[in-house]
């Protein structure tokens, strides 16, 4: 039941915040903060009392929802989703703290939307029923649309439309694919169900498998995003309020990566292998193209948005390498990117609050004015370029190592991305904090509240870089199983069912 409580607390908190917004502006913030902290404590306490993290599923909740269609309310937690959950709660708390001063109007409704998005996100990370998964997938959409459309910057309306239409269109393709998988499974076994565990190892012809997988890929690749489908991202990121950009970059994009690992690879073992060269190519294109565009931006938030495209290229490169090292890198990248890019968006937000511009050409020489901010900016620029000792380095190194095993050429091309990352990351520091003062800005350095936020992010990114084992060991069992399932189904499509049944008994 703990998994249900996690979602229920967020939903309850969301409604309470909305109601409380009428009374005072501070109340919704406090309520949301309490809800998220409660969730964080709950999940951490739960994990600490477990004896081992090596079980495939740490906790499993299965209840009927619409039995007529074989839809169940099935949530389960494994190492991978555990990491994502902790990340979500932590960044949720951060996003509330950073909007403390930024969001001044309609505070109650803002926090309602914020918590609703987070509820949708953890729902996505926990669902093991494909219908439920789609339900949560869509649930993230509407509140995010409001978040961008109401509290965003000048061109927010267009950006929110673009975001909604892209995700909805691709989501519907996934929905069709889910239904197709349901029918294919039902016809071959007689059991009509949306349950993930039962759908694993569904027998189907190669073409069918490929088509269904493409439906899933559509949704995940748009969300990730992968280069030809990334168009919504720079607009949505740059127009959203800081908390919105943070959640978009740090959490929403991760749902795409998570979907690839959780659904695409195990459900479509042979089709995903045959898609691998294209997938890796898309990854490399994303890495290089994103980096190039990031370098060309003058808007700070757009710049960071394009670095996301570049970093997410590594994720898809890793996912389609099909080996454990790469997968560990992918998980690491998901977390490290969430922290480092999130921090850069926060920085952009802090600068915007003070200067009311996001234009890099108007900044410059800010180090003197705000040395602490400069230092934080420098650290995360270094993280973004992959400096050893910080989390992103481990992630990208592991991915490149794994990809090297799978495809030497792609891996080499991708490593060029590291150089490009160096260029755009240093450009951030150069343009904002160093160089000539173009405008004589006068503002305060980080406040205590902002310092706490930045310090906690810095600590985490350093910790990830120095002690990556905690993360890697937590995710390991889940990743290994994913790969095993994929390999077995791929090699021997006939005998897998019985093996799978045994495996997922616990």
């Amino acid at each position: 039941m703990i998994l249900f409580y996690l979602i229920a607390i967020l939903l309850g908190g969301a409604f309470l915040s909305w109601m409380a917004g009428r009374l005072s502006a501070a109340l919704p913030r406090i309520i949301s903060l309490v809800a998220l902290t409660a969730d964080l404590i709950l999940i951490v306490a739960f994990v600490l009392q477990l004896d081992t993290l090596n079980n495939k599923w740490l906790v499993d909740l299965n209840a009927d929802w619409i039995p007529k269609f074989g839809i169940s309310f099935h949530l389960a937690l494994d190492g991978l989703s555990l990491l994502m959950l902790i990340l979500t709660f932590f960044l949720g708390i951060i996003s509330i703290i950073i909007s403390w001063k930024e969001i001044k109007v309609r505070v109650g409704f803002f926090h309602f939307n914020l918590l609703l998005i987070l509820a949708g996100i953890i729902g996505v990370f926990l669902s093991l029923d494909l219908f439920l998964f789609y339900f949560f997938w869509e649930l993230m959409l509407v509140p995010m649309y409001f978040l961008i459309g109401i509290w965003g910057h000048e061109k927010r309306i267009a950006a929110s439309f673009k975001f909604f239409l892209y995700t909805q269109a691709s989501g519907l393709l996934m929905f069709i694919a889910i239904l197709a998988l349901y029918f294919v499974h039902g016809r071959s076994t007689g059991v009509y169900t949306f349950d993930y565990m039962q759908l694993l190892g569904t027998q189907m012809g190669y073409t069918t498998e490929l088509l269904i997988m493409l439906g899933f890929l559509a949704a995940f690749l748009v969300k990730l995003p992968v280069v030809p489908l990334h168009n919504w991202l720079p607009d949505a990121h740059s127009e959203a309020p800081t908390a919105g950009s943070l959640i978009l970059a740090a959490l929403l994009l991760k749902t795409g990566a998570y979907g690839l690992l959780r659904f695409v690879v195990p459900l479509f073992p042979s089709a995903s292998v045959s898609f691998a060269p294209i997938g890796m190519l898309l990854g490399v294109v994303g890495i290089l193209y994103g980096a190039k565009l990031a370098f060309a931006q003058t808007d700070l938030k757009r710049l960071v948005a394009y670095t996301s495209v570049s970093h997410m290229g590594f994720v898809i490169l890793g996912v389609f390498s099909f080996n454990e090292i790469a997968y560990q890198g992918v998980v690491m990248q998901m977390i490290a990117h969430a922290i480092s890019t999130g921090a850069l968006f926060i920085l952009a937000g802090q600068l915007y609050e003070r200067t009311h511009t996001r234009d890099l050409n108007k900044m410059g020489g800010l180090w003197e004015t705000a040395p602490v901010m400069g230092a934080v900016g420098l650290i995360f620029a270094m993280a973004s370029l992959g400096l050893p000792g910080l989390g992103n380095f481990i992630a990208e190194l592991l991915i490149l190592l794994g990809a090297f095993k799978a495809n030497v050429f792609m891996s080499c091309l991708a490593s060029v991305g590291l150089i490009a990352a160096t260029i755009y990351s240093l450009r951030i520091v150069q343009k904002i904090f160093l160089g000539k003062k173009i405008t004589d800005w006068k503002f305060n350095d980080l406040t205590i509240r902002e310092k706490i936020v930045s310090a906690s992010l810095v600590i985490i990114i350093v910790w990830l870089g120095i002690f990556p084992r905690t993360v890697l060991n937590t995710a390991k069992p889940a990743l290994q199983k994913t790969l095993e399932v994929q390999k077995e189904n791929n090699n021997d499509n006939n005998k897998t069912e019985s093996i799978l049944d045994l495996r997922f008994k616990n």
Partner: protein
């Protein structure tokens, strides 16, 4: 006529008696509240009568009527919708100048026509029902005689509906020529004996389809819809969108499944084409609308396009899906028009999208109701519309209608755009326009409808079970 026959006709008798009573009352003592209360009471009685009929069914009164679970179900939703429309009309009609009580008389006759369609088993009753419905609708649409576009809408509907009725009648004639019967079941038997449809029969069905397509506002017979929706009083638009279309759908499904129209190659292609055209044209034309009633009109065209996919599945499960879809569409549409009705007054209708600017910040409750209704029309989760669409797609895919399903998906993404536009307007900074306050009763009605939209969206299992009981596997 036997006793059972009478019992089964009680709801119709109530519906027929009520307007006569109202007329008599008006001639003696004109009082709006009394008429309103009596109307609600009669609708409740008609609905309650359904429970007394239930043990006696299936029962058919040869040759015209067939009263089975299926018709009972439609009668139920027709009565409930008429009840809600009457409830929402209270203030709107009250504020009109001149005579107002007659509105409820006409509401009853049109509901009677709709109800007859749900039990029709014969062309005669089919025609009778559709005419009773249409003629009442002319009056309802043009009820605000002082408004130009109300009259315009009424006349437009009158002329076009007459033409379409002519087509319907001609089609019925041709089918009678081809099969020698006007009873649905006998036509079905004749078809199964004769084998593939002759060109005479196809022409007949095609012409009937023109008449039915007009009533359902399917492309290419949709041109009247936006004008009529715009010109008619808002509650009447809601009535046309729900009760009128639902009743026609009831008879269409019964007829089409009786004759197994989905097995015929030509009919299959014609209906597929109509469905796809309706979805796309409805959704594309809605994009540029500035008038919310016109926008909803186009949206209803698209929604009917989604719904008739079900005709081609040819299974009872398909019918179940269509019933669920209809219910979710009914409550959603009533909710949307309910908001428009309650925000309008005699002088100006709240029909331009710009009137809704900043509504969320001024009237959060109404704005939430409207937002949820629009999201439900767009088929976004946690609303009834999502489950309805899911159900239709589900049955469509099961029947292998992939082309139609993809058309539905693509056009609903297009549709999303204009729903979002309205929602965005409501959430943008507050505008100048002032809209009237909503009565407590109005708020209560809207809240009830909205809660049912959410319940159906989150936990639809029970309704699906009920529908299964009514239609069977």
């Amino acid at each position: 006529m036997t006793e059972t026959d009478f019992l089964c006709l009680t709801p119709f008798l109530i519906l027929a008696l009520a307007p006569i009573v109202i007329m008599l009352v008006i001639s003696i003592f004109r009082n709006y509240e009394i008429v309103f209360g009596f109307s609600l009471l009669s609708l409740i009685l008609a609905f309650a009568a359904l429970f007394f009929i239930a043990p006696a069914i299936p029962h058919s009164i040869q040759p015209l009527f067939i009263i089975d679970m299926y018709s009972l179900f439609f009668l139920g939703i027709i009565f409930i919708s008429a009840f809600i429309v009457a409830l929402l009309s209270y203030n709107y009609i009250k504020r009109l100048e001149g005579v107002r009580e007659e509105y409820y008389i006409i509401l009853f006759t049109s509901t009677l026509g709709a109800a007859l369609l749900a039990v029709a088993n014969h062309f005669v009753l089919f025609f009778l029902g559709i005419e009773t419905l249409s003629i009442s609708l002319y009056i309802l649409i043009a009820f605000q005689r002082t408004k130009d576009n109300s009259i315009e809408a009424g006349i437009k509907y009158l002329i076009l509906a007459s033409v379409s009725t002519a087509f319907l009648l001609f089609g019925m004639g041709l089918i009678y020529t081809a099969f020698g019967s006007m009873m649905f079941s006998e036509i079905a038997t004749a078809i199964s004996l004769q084998g593939p449809l002759t060109s005479l029969a196809i022409t007949g069905f095609g012409m009937m389809l023109v008449g039915i397509g007009f009533k359902l506002a399917l492309v290419p017979f949709h041109a009247w819809t936006p004008d009529v929706y715009q010109g008619a009083p808002a509650p009447v638009s809601a009535y046309i969108a729900t009760v009128s279309k639902g009743a026609v759908m009831a008879v269409l499904i019964r007829f089409f499944f009786n004759i197994k129209g989905f097995d015929d190659h030509y009919l299959f292609i014609i209906i597929s084409a109509i469905a796809i055209l309706s979805m796309f044209i409805g959704n594309i034309l809605a994009i540029r609308q500035q008038n919310i009633k016109r926008l909803l009109a186009y949206s209803s065209i698209a929604n009917m396009g989604y719904l008739i996919i079900i005709l081609l599945t040819g299974t009872n499960k398909g019918i179940q899906a269509s019933l669920f879809y209809l219910i979710s569409y009914f409550i959603t549409t009533i909710s949307a028009f309910g908001v428009i009705t309650l925000l309008s007054n005699a002088k100006n209708e709240a029909e331009m999208i710009s009137d809704y600017k900043g509504l969320f910040w001024k009237r959060p409750f109404v704005a939430i109701v409207f937002t949820l209704a629009l999201l439900s029309l767009a088929g976004i989760p946690i609303t009834a519309g999502f489950i309805g669409k899911f159900y239709v797609i589900f049955e469509g895919m099961k029947a292998g209608l992939m082309l139609l399903v993809f058309a539905m998906i693509i056009s609903s993404v297009i549709g999303l755009y204009y729903y979002l536009r309205v929602i965005t307007t409501m959430f943008s900074p507050a505008g100048e326009t002032t809209l009237p306050q909503i009565t407590f009763m109005g708020k209560f009605t809207l809240a009830a409808i909205t809660i049912s939209i959410l319940i159906l969206g989150i936990y639809p299992g029970w309704l699906i079970d009920i529908i299964t009981r009514f239609v069977g596997l």
